[in-house]
Structure formats: C-alpha cells, structure tokens
C-alpha cells in the first residue's frame, strides 16, 4: 500500500482497527506511523473534550425565558403600532414639505398666480385700486382689457 492510501485509510477508519496490510506498512514507514499516532492523539483529545462537563442551565432558565418572550410580544405589538403611526407621520411630513417646496419654486407671476393670474381669473377689478401697475404706468393707469376701468 502507498502512503497516501494508508493515510486515507487511517482517516476513514478513524479509530477503527487497521487491516494487517496497513499495519505492516506502518511498521516500515516512520512518516505514516507518526501520522497514525497523531490521529490516535487527536481522537483521544476529542474523547477528553467530550467528557468535559457541559454547563447546565441556571435555575428558572425556562420560566425567565418565557417571561421575556411575553414582554417581547407586548413590546412587539406596541412597537408595531408606533411603527405604523410613525410611518404615516413621516409620509405626511414629506407630502407637506413637498407642497411647501413646490409653492416656493413656482414663479411669482404666471397664469395661475400673481397679478396675471388675477387678470386671468377676472379678479383684478377688486384689487386694481390697491396694486401698482406692473407695466410701469402710474397708479391707476388704465388697461384696455378691463371694461369700466379708471379710463372709462
């Protein structure tokens, strides 16, 4: 048998009885003999480790755990509620912020805003008396578009 086959066999049998052919090889090959001895050492080490006393659960471990689970369930339900409410609050704040930003970003004049908007909506009649003329004329200059304005 070759050394590799012997080492595979030692690994495969792991503590089991080696066949005569393998034992004969070990008696002639110092390297494989050392390998076999190491395997035996490791096996003995594992046995010693397995014999080590496992720590035991402290008194009342299970009941403490169940109490903690019940607390966790309560906290879980509460946190779920707060999470839902919190999420809605965040969405509402975001929507509001977006609305404010949009209102700031929109031009101050245009078809839906300011003086021109008022023109468009036919509302300038009421405000004309108090607003300066945006076309640069004196206060109270007439606009042809407005029937019944000061020029009439």
């Amino acid at each position: 048998m070759e050394c590799k086959a012997i080492r595979d066999l030692v690994n495969e049998l792991w503590g089991g009885e080696l066949p005569a052919e393998a034992r004969e090889h070990l008696s002639k090959c110092a390297g494989c003999e050392a390998f076999w001895r190491d395997a035996r050492l490791v096996q003995a080490g594992f046995r010693a480790l397995a014999e080590e006393a496992v720590p035991e659960a402290s008194l009342g471990f299970a009941s403490r755990l169940v109490r903690r689970l019940q607390e966790w369930e309560g906290i879980g339900a509460r946190s779920e509620f707060f999470e839902t409410v919190g999420r809605r609050f965040v969405y509402a704040t975001l929507a509001l912020t977006l609305a404010v930003l949009l209102s700031l970003a929109l031009p101050t004049t245009g078809p839906v805003r300011g003086v021109a908007g008022a023109d468009f909506l036919g509302l300038q009649v009421a405000s004309q008396a108090t607003q300066p003329d945006v076309l640069g004329g004196d206060l109270g200059d007439s606009h042809d578009l407005i029937p019944g304005g000061p020029s009439d």
Partner: protein
C-alpha cells in the same frame, strides 16, 4: 433522546399552542431541550460564560420562527438546526478575536503531548495527559475553519451519526462524509505543522 408516545403528543400540543399565540406553552419545550442546546453551544463555541446567553438567543429565534415549523423533521432536529446556525454565525462574527496560536500552549502541555506521542500508554490517559490533550485538541479545533469545526464537533463531541448531521445541516450524507474526511485531514496537517515548527 427518544421520546415516548405521550411525550410526543404533549410536545405536538405545546408546539400547536405556541403557534396559536400561547407563549407560556413554550416553557415545557425549553425545559425539554435546554440541555441539548447548551451542549451544542458549549461544544461549538467553547466559551462557558457565553453559553446561557447564546442559548437564550437561540430559543428566542425558535419562538419567533415557530409558526414556520411544519412537523416535517422532529422538533429536536429543528431547534438544534437553529442552534447550529446561530453558533456558526457567532463563530464567524468573533473569528478575529478567537484566533488561537500554538505558542499559547504551555510548555507543560507540549511536553505531555510529545511524551504521549512517543509512547502512547495502552491503559488510557492519566489526568495530566487528559488535560494536555484536551487543551491541545481544543486549540486545534479553535483554529479550524468554521465548517470543519461544525462537522467535527457534531461528530466527535456531540456523537451524532453522519445521517443525523446531514439532517441538521440539510446536506447529503455523502457530503457530510467528505467534509468530515477533509476536516480530519486538515486537523492532522495542522498538528504536523505544529511539530515542524517545534523542531
């Protein structure tokens, strides 16, 4: 740990009650499996002071996931699988801090080990030899990659069969055999490297 028929029936009842929201029914399940989980955790992690905390985390995980338990494997296997996975994640997380070096081995341990290697006594090990070997193989195990450590621990320390390990790790038995073979080989190579370094 084989359960009798009434024990199995009680266990199934407890599981169903927990699944329907009765958390107090989890208590008997914890009591039944706590020692098994403590053993898995201790052998895998090898930190006595952390066993109880880790076991608690494992049972919390099991409780949270119990609705997904469908009785296809035994509850023992299911909860042990959670324990193994949890320890595996823990070992990966603390990998950097748990690096163990040969040089940490005491001179006394090294001497005992070499003496043992030169003339293995057929009548078993005395206390000193046992401590030395336990210390040394424990260090070899700590140095091993997590996957090797998992299969070696389950086989050599927890005494599970290849089929049981396959069930726990959701692997084929043939895959477990290959992993076990490689893990032992790597461990023996590591031991050989240690010998070379000492020469």
């Amino acid at each position: 740990m084989a359960l009798s028929e009434p024990e199995v029936a009680h266990e199934v009842e407890c599981i169903r009650r927990v699944q329907h929201g009765e958390s107090e029914a989890f208590g008997p399940l914890v009591e039944r499996y706590q020692q098994r989980i403590f053993s898995i955790v201790f052998h895998l992690v090898r930190r006595r002071d952390e066993v109880e905390d880790l076991a608690q985390e494992i049972f919390l995980k099991a409780f949270r996931a119990i609705r997904s338990y469908n009785f296809q494997s035994s509850f023992a296997t299911w909860v042990s699988r959670i324990a193994v996975n949890h320890c595996y994640d823990y070992l990966r997380k603390v990998r950097a801090s748990r690096l163990s070096y040969y040089s940490e081995m005491t001179e006394e341990s090294a001497h005992e080990l070499e003496r043992k290697a030169e003339s293995p006594s057929p009548g078993g090990l005395d206390h000193g030899e046992k401590v030395a070997l336990r210390d040394f193989v424990g260090r070899l195990l700590e140095r091993a990659p997590e996957d090797d450590r998992l299969v070696l621990t389950l086989k050599e320390l927890e005494d599970y069969s290849v089929e049981e390990i396959a069930g726990l790790l959701k692997l084929k038995p043939s895959t477990v055999k290959v992993r076990l073979h490689r893990a032992r080989k790597r461990m023996l190579e590591d031991l050989e490297r240690w010998r070379q370094e000492r020469k």
